[in-house]
């Protein structure tokens, strides 16, 4: 090829290559799902339930149907195929089936000539409800047997006892992903009974499976296309507008667009599972864990979505990155009339990390050990069995490394600033310098990589070599994390070609890339690109030698290489949770420094330091971007982010009252990366997308505890929790 070595090509792995879609995004020219436009398209709108639990007594769509400019009004009776959808369990009706089971559940959809008419038509629909008592207490739901899944993990000797016992109950509230880009979809009928769907998604193939079933169509009739997304963090893993907009397009024979506004977005996507966790840690005099007992309930809300997998993730990580030979976990995820829960960055590992790290701090205090020392003594390392599943850790896991390096990072100067905007309360001027107490807290977090429990997890990629350069065809979704960038870097490193294009492929032209979630895409789609590039390089070298030019290689047309990449297989565990359910692990450490005004309960997070296990830093700048962004989300969950429910109704479905950190709230971050190669994936790289949201929250809460002495068993921590009123 024209550049047989990588030395002369810029943008290879290890560099902080700028992203290829950056210019379009900076100039306002990048097409997000909510920007898609076809002249003559219809606008869709959705009627939703105002109750968390109610019987639909009357639904009269006549006033909407007869409104000028309205082209279709559809209800559950209009669903052509399977009545229900869901990733694992198909339990959610496409539209209300006579009983609304959560606040905001879709009831009917309208397509009209313009947005105003669509909205007015929805408002004109006559709907009468008989409110029913909502189930809102997860413990009560569990007692009533309303479980999506229950898991039992038993390992070791239940009668083992330690000399130090720490028992406590922890609670994590509902966090919302709150991506800035709203849910949006454009459905374009093809005139032959099928359609093309352009919908904000994290996994077009799983959407496709559910959509064709509900539309009663052959798979070929529907093509799901990746579109530009304004963030995801798990909110886009499940169906939102997809089936609705498709039905409207098929009924009207015209393109239809649905875009949710912010309030509707809060109602229209799954949230992080709130959890109640009862923990008992027993340790010996040296602080070594002897036994961990956990009983936990997660609230899955009205429909299953990915609750089965979230529970497993939580249950297997209840102990964290620590050794323990005796573990008992009883965990349930239950059905209530609260908003449906599903995937959010961390996927169950976040909730338990808050609990187990709080426990480790309490053990350390009881034994007079430094928080990092107790973690060092128990650190889970390669070759050790996972405390919960017994799976022997394969590949790299620098648990001691992330502890030691974190400890070596200098703390910020122990000086309370003069500038009030840098004190708790900020420009609210609440807090004199003399009222500020500083605290430091630590936490470690463990996460699995990719999917688990025997799921057939793979990613398909097709490379196409032309005289102009290389094309990477994939259905993998870029949500902002930089997958597009590192895939180009990987391909460049193998093939030495500078000019590479990322070509989004739809469900009809390529197989699944799997979800953009589970910290998996760098290793899976990156792994697929890597494998395909190696095959392509070897094939070309064989046919043309090492120095052939692109023109010569492609003289008879483009050369393609398709790959379906899988990670090492995982297994379903046995009935006691024992086995090898995971494909790999990633560990990280966080240290938080906070300034607190204990009298008012106000917190300023001064800095969060982190050490991240990365395997191989394919793009250091992009990694740091993920770490800093994840820490900001962890900071939000620590002190300000919470969806407040009353009888299952969300009281704060807007950005006025669901508070996410501004630039004046987000902490400064110092990051260090540890490169110990993973045992699979491109160049030994590991997925790091979730680690920063997992242990940042517990580190911040630990720091607030250190500053105030308050127990703080709940996140988010509210001012009244710190004050104690």
């Amino acid at each position: 090829m024209t550049a047989p070595t990588t030395e002369r090509v810029a943008g290879v792995i290890g560099e902080s290559t700028v992203r290829p879609d950056g210019v379009a995004k900076l100039s306002g020219n990048f097409a997000y799902g909510s920007d898609l436009w076809i002249d003559g398209m219809l606008w869709g709108a959705t009627l939703r339930s105002p109750y968390a639990h109610a019987r639909l007594e009357k639904l009269d769509i006549t006033p909407a149907v007869t409104m000028s400019g309205v082209r279709a009004v559809l209800t559950q009776d209009d669903v052509p195929g399977r009545a229900r959808f869901g990733q694992v369990e198909q339990d959610q009706p496409v539209l209300c089936d006579g009983v609304a089971r959560y606040w905001g559940e879709p009831v009917a959809v309208v397509a009209a000539d313009d947005e105003e008419t669509a909205r007015a038509a929805v408002a004109a629909i006559i709907v009468e409800w008989e409110p029913l008592e909502p189930v809102t207490d997860p413990d009560a739901a569990r007692a009533a047997g309303e479980e999506y899944r229950a898991m039992v993990i038993r390992r070791g000797d239940e009668s083992a006892a330690g000399s130090v016992v720490i028992e406590a109950e922890y609670e994590t509230a509902i966090q919302d992903q709150a991506p800035l880009g709203p849910e949006a979809g454009l459905a374009v009928p093809d005139g032959e009974g099928g359609l093309d769907l352009h919908v904000t998604s994290q996994w077009v193939h799983i959407d496709h499976t559910q959509i064709v079933a509900c539309l009663g169509l052959e798979p070929d009739a529907v093509r799901c296309h990746p579109v530009g997304i304004g963030g995801a963090f798990g909110a886009r893993e499940d169906i939102s507008v997809h089936i609705h907009v498709a039905m409207l397009a098929l009924r009207t024979g015209r393109p239809v667009r649905i875009v949710y506004d912010r309030t509707e977005s809060f109602a229209g996507h799954v949230k992080r599972h709130p959890a109640r966790m009862r923990y008992r840690h027993e340790a010996d005099d040296d602080g070594r864990l002897v036994k961990v007992i956990v009983d936990m309930v997660m609230d899955g809300g009205a429909y299953a979505h990915t609750s089965h997998a979230v529970l497993a993730n939580a249950a297997f990580f209840t102990v964290g990155p620590y050794n323990c030979d005796n573990v008992a976990v009883d965990a349930s995820v239950v059905r209530t009339n609260n908003p449906p829960a599903g995937a959010m960055r961390g996927f169950g590992a976040v909730q338990v990390c808050f609990a187990y790290e709080s426990q480790m701090d309490r053990l350390a205090e009881a034994l007079g050990l430094h928080p990092l020392e107790i973690r060092r003594r128990n650190a889970l390392l390669p070759g050790d069995p996972m405390a919960t599943s017994g799976q022997v850790v394969e590949g790299s896991l620098p648990t001691i490394g992330v502890i030691d390096l974190l400890e070596s990072m200098p703390l910020p100067d122990d000086v309370i600033p003069d500038d009030p905007s840098l004190l708790p309360g900020g420009t609210g001027l609440t807090t004199p310098r003399g009222s500020v107490v500083r605290g430091v807290g630590y936490a470690l977090g463990l996460k699995n990589l990719a999917f688990s429990e025997g799921f057939d997890d793979y990613s398909e990629v097709r490379l196409v070599l032309t005289s102009a350069g290389l094309e990477i065809h994939t259905a993998a979704i870029e949500v902002g994390q930089g997958l597009v960038t590192i895939c180009l870097q990987i391909a460049r490193s193998i093939l030495g070609i500078e000019n590479i294009a990322w070509v989004p492929a739809d469900t009809s032209t390529i197989g699944s890339a799997g979800s953009t979630s589970a910290s998996r895409q760098t290793q899976m789609t990156g792994g697929a690109v890597h494998e395909a590039a190696v095959k392509l390089r070897d094939h070309i070298a064989e046919r043309f030698g090492d120095d052939a030019a692109l023109e010569e290689i492609t003289v008879d047309g483009p050369i393609e290489q398709w790959v379906r990449y899988r990670h090492p297989p995982t297994e379903e565990p046995d009935e006691l949770g024992q086995g090898n359910p995971h494909a790999g692990f990633v560990v990280a450490s966080h240290r938080a420094v906070v300034d607190v005004d204990p009298e008012l309960g106000l917190v300023r997070i001064v800095r969060v330091d982190t050490v991240q296990d990365v395997g191989k830093a394919l793009n250091p700048q992009a990694i740091v971007g993920q770490l800093e962004g994840g820490i900001a989300q962890g900071a939000g969950f620590a002190i300000m982010e919470e969806l407040i429910l009353e009888d299952g109704v969300i009281l704060n479905p807007n950005f006025t009252d669901y508070l996410i950190p501004t630039i004046l709230d987000a902490p400064d971050v110092e990051s260090r990366l540890i490169e110990e190669p993973a045992h699979w994936g491109p160049f030994g790289a590991k997925g790091i997308g979730e680690s920063p949201t997992i242990s940042s929250t517990p580190a911040i809460v630990a720091a607030i505890r250190a500053a105030t002495g308050r127990p703080l068993n709940r996140v988010p921590v509210r001012p009244q929790d710190i004050v104690g009123v």
């Binding site: 309360g425 420009t427 001027l429 609440t430 300000m640 807007n654 709230d665």
Partner: protein, 267 residues
Amino acid sequence: MHFVAARDLATALDARAEHPDAELLAGGTDLMVEVNLSHHRPTGVIGVRACDELMEWRDGRIGAAVTWARLEDGSARALAQLARTIGSPQIRAAGTMGGNVATASPAGDGLPWIAAMDGSVEVASRERGTRLIPWNEFFVGVKQTSLAGDEVITAVVTPDDAPHVQEFAKVGVRNAMVIATVSCVVAKGADGFRIALGAVAPTPIRATRAEEMLNAEASISDLVLEEVARLVSAEVRPITDHRSTESYRRHASGVLARRLVERCRAA
């Protein structure tokens, strides 16, 4: 929809008299939220963003269309402090004192300052001319004012002897774009201390019992400060809602009042 861009007050008053259904629009930071999220559809709008008389600002008189961005640079210390905390730079460039007063949200950031200054709201109508309404007669309930349907808010007026020593503080869970959990303005004039609070009652309030106690004391010891906190906590009437609890708001009111009295004392 009928839109009148009123460049002078006479135009605004005429429009208000002739179109009783028309709504006043300054920065849009309240009205447009209703348009966008509540799908409110005005049939008539009178735009006063660039109305000459309403944009005037001098000592003792803030025109209704003066933006928070301008007020950040004013000489009234607590007003400048609170202006800086309103929303965001984008909100401050558009939002106005007059809009804050007209909306009369219990948590309106500007309102406790008006109360602390013993200020009045000046309103005008074509038929009845101008009148001055003391703050405690203007703000009558949650988002309720005594503004008549044909009146326009023209200014917030403060007495010539309004205290120069004044301090502000506001509790919010986030450091920008946050609705006050509790806000407080304390001022110290020739007649003594004034303690005003927001977000702890349907309207802004003055903690008169705390003021009375404080102004009867010859010197302000730590014990007196503690008593200020206790009296303010007892005097406020906060609620529990999705933003905070009654007990926290009560507690924070006392703390803020005490701290601000201390700041004024030191000034």
